[in-house]
C-alpha cells in the first residue's frame, strides 16, 4: 500500500473513531457475537474457535464474516458493526493509535512470510544481490520485514538489488509466474496458492522462510508476531465472559489446526474461496502458536519498534500503551 493510500486509510480510521466513541453504537443491534476475519489462516483459527459449544452457550450463534481489505475492517470495527476480529497486529496497533477503542486479546500467527524464487532457490537473503524482487504494497508488513532484513544483510535496494512494487499480491503472483521477477515476497496462503499454480505450469520455485532469516540476522527467535485477535473495548466491558470464552476457544483451536491440518484445511475451504490443498500447504509453512497479548507483548514491542523505524505509518504512532493489551487472568 503506498503512503498516500495509507494516509487515506488512517484518515478514515480516525474519522471512524469519533463514531466509535459514542457509547453502545452498533452493539445493541444484534444479540450474538459478531466477528470478522481476513481470508487465510486467521480465518481458519477463528472459525474453529467460534464453533466452540461453551462459547455458543454463552454468546449464542456467532456471526463470522470475512473482510477483504483493511479499509472494510476499519469501517466495521470502528462503527461497531463487528465486535471482534482477527487482524494483522500492525493494523490492530494502528486502530488503537488512531483512537478506535480496541483491545488485543492474543497473537496466534508467528510466521507466515516467505519468498519464492526462480530459477534457482535462494539459501539466504545474500543471494538476492543482483536480483529483481516483487513486493505487494510498499510500506506493508511484508515490505518492511524484507527491507529491515536487507539492511541487516548489508544489501541496498537500488544498488544491490531491484524491488518492484505492485498494487496487489495478485499482481505480484502473476508477474512471478510469468517469470518477470526473480523472487516474490508473499505471505501464506498466497505463497502455497502460487506454488500450486506454478506446479501446473511446470514451475517449481525455491522457497525462503523470512522468519528464519530474521532469526539468523537478528539473533532472535524465528517467530514474528504477525496476526492475532482484537475486540472492541466495550465488548470486554459488557461481556467479559464472552471474551474469556473466545480466548479459551482460540487457545484450543490453534493446537487443533497444527495437529489436524487436513481437517483444518477442509474447514478453511468451506469458509473461503481458497481450496483445501492451499490451506494444508499453508498450515505446514506457517508458525501458529497461541500466546495471550500479555505474553506476546515483549515480542510485539520489539517487532513494532524495529519496523516502525522504517515507516512511522506502520503502527500509526508510538508503541501502544498498557490499555492495548488484554490482561491475563
Amino acid at each position: 500500500m503506498n503512503d498516500l493510500s495509507r494516509r487515506r486509510l488512517l484518515q478514515l480510521a480516525a474519522a471512524s473513531a469519533a463514531l466509535a466513541a459514542l457509547p453502545g453504537v452498533g452493539l445493541a443491534a444484534q444479540a450474538g457475537l459478531r466477528a470478522a476475519t481476513p481470508l487465510g489462516l486467521p480465518q481458519l483459527i477463528l472459525a474453529r474457535a467460534l464453533q466452540d459449544e461453551r462459547l455458543k452457550a454463552l454468546a449464542g450463534e456467532p456471526d463470522l464474516r470475512a473482510w477483504r481489505d483493511p479499509d472494510q475492517l476499519r469501517a466495521w470495527i470502528a462503527g461497531g458493526e463487528v465486535q471482534l476480529t482477527a487482524t494483522p497486529t500492525n493494523v490492530a496497533a494502528n486502530l488503537y493509535n488512531r483512537g478506535v477503542p480496541v483491545v488485543l486479546m492474543n497473537v496466534n500467527v508467528w510466521g507466515t512470510l516467505g519468498m519464492l524464487s526462480l530459477p534457482r532457490p535462494f539459501d539466504s537473503l545474500s543471494d538476492l544481490a543482483g536480483r529483481h524482487v516483487g513486493v505487494p504494497w510498499r510500506g506493508d508488513m511484508p515490505d518492511l520485514v524484507l527491507r529491515y532484513l536487507l539492511a541487516r544483510q548489508g544489501l541496498e535496494v537500488g544498488r544491490d538489488l531491484r524491488i518492484t512494487y505492485h498494487a496487489s499480491p495478485f499482481e505480484t503472483v502473476q508477474m512471478f509466474l510469468a517469470r518477470r521477477l526473480d523472487a516474490a515476497v508473499l505471505p501464506e496462503p498466497m505463497r502455497t496458492a502460487t506454488r500450486l499454480q506454478g506446479a501446473s505450469l511446470g514451475i517449481e520455485p525455491g522457497e525462503l522462510d523470512l522468519q528464519r532469516e530474521w532469526a539468523r540476522l537478528t539473533g532472535g527467535a524465528a517467530a514474528l508476531p504477525q496476526a492475532g485477535v482484537i475486540c472492541r473495548r466495550e465488548l470486554l466491558e459488557a461481556h467479559p465472559d464472552w471474551v474469556a470464552a473466545v480466548q479459551a476457544a482460540v487457545a484450543e483451536a490453534v493446537p487443533w489446526v497444527n495437529a489436524e491440518p487436513a481437517a483444518a484445511a477442509r474447514l478453511g475451504a468451506e469458509q473461503s474461496p481458497l481450496s483445501a490443498p492451499v490451506f494444508e500447504g499453508a498450515i505446514a509453512r506457517t508458525r501458529l502458536e497461541m500466546q495471550t497479548a500479555a505474553q506476546a507483548r515483549p515480542a510485539l514491542e520489539a517487532f513494532f519498534g524495529a519496523l516502525a523505524e522504517l515507516s512511522s505509518g506502520f503502527i500509526g504512532g508510538g508503541l501502544p500503551d498498557d490499555a492495548f493489551y488484554l490482561a491475563d487472568g
Binding site: 493510500s5 509466474l177 505450469l201
Partner: protein, 403 residues
C-alpha cells in the same frame, strides 16, 4: 476510405460483404469473453488449464485474439480502398473468419493441445492477413501505407517470440511477457501512424459540422517526432523495461504526443463523437506514457499502473473508434454515431480510469473495483457497440452499393 471502384457481385450473406463486418462484430463479442479466465482466476472462483501463466494467456487473447480481429477487419477494409485491390469477401473471408475462430478455440485449449499446434494455428491468421495485404501495400498506390504493413510484420514477429518463449522457456534472452509488451507498443505506434492519416479528415469534418471557423494546421514534423519517440520507447521498453532511462524516454514520448495533441481542434468540434474517440485514445496514450515513465523513476509506485492506461485506454478506445467510424462509413451511412456509443465510450472511459487509478490511489480496492468493476464496464462498452452496430454489420448497405 471509400469502396473500390471495381467490385464483383455481392456475396449472398451481407455479413461477408466486407471484412470489417464479421471481424468487428466478433472482436466486440470476444472482448469481454477473453477476460473470463483471468478475472475468474483472480477471484479464485474457477481456474482453467490454460497451459501458461494466466496473465500471459489474458494478454495474448486481448492482443492476438481481440485486437487482431479488429486489426484484420480494419486492414482488409482499408487496403482495398488505398491500393485499389479487390476486397476479401464471401467464401475466402468466411475461411479467414474460421481461421481466427480456430485460433481462439486452440488457445482456450492451450493447456491440453500440443503447444506447437496452438502456436501454428494462431500464427496462421496474421500470416494470411499480412500475406494478403503486403502485395497491395507494396504496389505504387499502396506504398504510402507500407509503414502499417511493417508494423504488422513487427507484431507478427512479437507473436512468434511469445510462442518461442512459451514453448522453450529460459532458452531465450526474453521472457513470456516481453513480446506481449512489444506487440502492444507496436500497436501504440500504429495508433500514432494511423492518427496522422485520419486526424486531418476527421478533424476537418468535426470543425465544419460544429460551425467553428478556426483554421486547422497539422505540422508534419511534430507528427514525425511523436512517432519517432514512440518507436524509441518501444525499443527501450523491450530491452530494459522499468529502467530509469526507459522511464525518461517514456516521458519524452509522452511530451511529444501531448505536443501533437495541442494541434487538434479543442473546443466545440470536440463534441463530435468520432473526433472525441480518437482524441481520448490519444490522451490515454499520453497519460499512459507519463505513468510508465514516472513509475520507472519513482520506485514506490505500483509498477504496472500505466500499462492499463495504454492497453485499455489507448488501444481499447482506438479499437472502439475504428469500429464506430469504419462501421458507419463502409455501410454507406453518414458519420452520425448512434447514441448508444456515448454509453459505450463512457463505460470504456470509466473502466480504464478505475483499472488505472484504483491501484495507485486505493490499492485495497484492487480486486473489487480495479478488476471486477473495470471488467464489467469493459463488457458493457463492447456489448454496447455490438448491440448498436449488429444490425448495420449484418444487413446490406442501405444505398445498395457493394460492401
Amino acid at each position: 476510405m471509400t469502396p473500390p471502384l471495381d467490385s464483383s457481385a455481392p456475396p449472398r450473406l451481407p455479413v461477408l460483404a466486407y471484412a470489417f463486418r464479421p471481424f468487428f462484430l466478433l472482436a466486440a463479442l470476444y472482448a469481454p469473453l477473453a477476460l473470463l479466465p483471468w478475472v475468474g482466476g483472480m477471484l479464485q472462483l474457477f481456474s482453467l488449464d490454460l497451459g501458461m501463466p494466466p496473465m500471459a494467456w489474458h494478454a495474448h487473447e486481448m492482443l492476438f485474439g481481440f485486437v487482431a480481429a479488429a486489426l484484420a477487419g480494419f486492414l482488409l477494409t482499408a487496403v482495398p480502398s488505398w491500393a485499389r485491390v479487390e476486397p476479401l469477401t464471401g467464401a475466402p473471408l468466411a475461411a479467414l473468419v474460421l481461421l481466427w475462430l480456430a485460433g481462439r478455440s486452440a488457445f482456450w485449449l492451450a493447456g491440453t493441445l500440443p503447444g506447437w499446434l496452438v502456436a501454428l494455428v494462431n500464427l496462421a491468421f496474421p500470416l494470411v492477413v499480412l500475406g494478403w495485404a503486403l502485395p497491395a501495400l507494396l504496389s505504387p498506390e499502396g506504398r504510402r501505407h507500407l509503414s502499417l504493413g511493417v508494423l504488422l510484420g513487427g507484431v507478427l514477429l512479437a507473436q512468434l517470440g511469445f510462442y518461442l518463449a512459451w514453448l522453450a522457456p529460459l532458452s531465450l534472452p526474453f521472457g513470456l511477457l516481453d513480446p506481449l509488451h512489444l506487440a502492444a507498443n507496436l500497436l501504440l505506434i500504429m495508433i500514432a501512424v494511423t492518427a496522422t492519416r485520419i486526424v486531418r479528415v476527421v478533424a476537418m469534418a468535426a470543425v465544419q459540422a460544429s460551425g467553428a471557423e478556426r483554421p486547422l494546421r497539422f505540422t508534419s514534423a511534430r507528427e514525425h517526432l511523436a512517432v519517432a519517440t514512440l518507436c524509441l520507447f518501444a525499443l527501450a521498453d523491450f530491452l530494459a523495461q522499468g529502467h530509469p532511462v526507459t522511464g525518461w524516454i517514456a516521458l519524452a514520448a509522452a511530451a511529444a504526443q501531448a505536443d501533437r495533441l495541442s494541434e487538434w481542434p479543442w473546443g466545440r468540434a470536440m463534441g463530435r463523437l468520432y473526433l472525441l474517440l480518437l482524441t481520448l485514445a490519444y490522451a490515454w496514450l499520453t497519460l499512459g506514457l507519463v505513468l510508465v515513465g514516472v513509475t520507472a523513476l519513482v520506485e514506490s509506485l505500483p509498477a504496472y499502473a500505466g500499462r492499463h492506461a495504454l492497453f485499455l485506454g489507448a488501444i481499447g478506445t482506438a479499437v472502439l473508434a475504428v469500429f464506430c467510424i469504419a462501421g458507419l462509413r463502409h455501410t454507406g451511412r453518414s458519420l452520425e454515431l448512434p447514441r448508444s456509443i456515448w454509453l459505450a465510450l463512457a463505460c470504456l472511459l470509466l473502466g480504464t480510469a478505475l483499472r488505472t487509478g484504483v491501484p495507485l490511489l486505493w490499492p485495497q480496492q484492487y480486486l473489487v473495483v480495479s478488476v471486477v468493476a473495470a471488467a464489467a464496464l469493459w463488457l458493457l462498452a463492447f456489448l454496447g457497440y455490438a448491440f448498436g452496430y449488429a444490425r448495420m454489420l449484418l444487413s446490406a448497405r442501405p444505398d445498395g452499393l457493394p460492401g
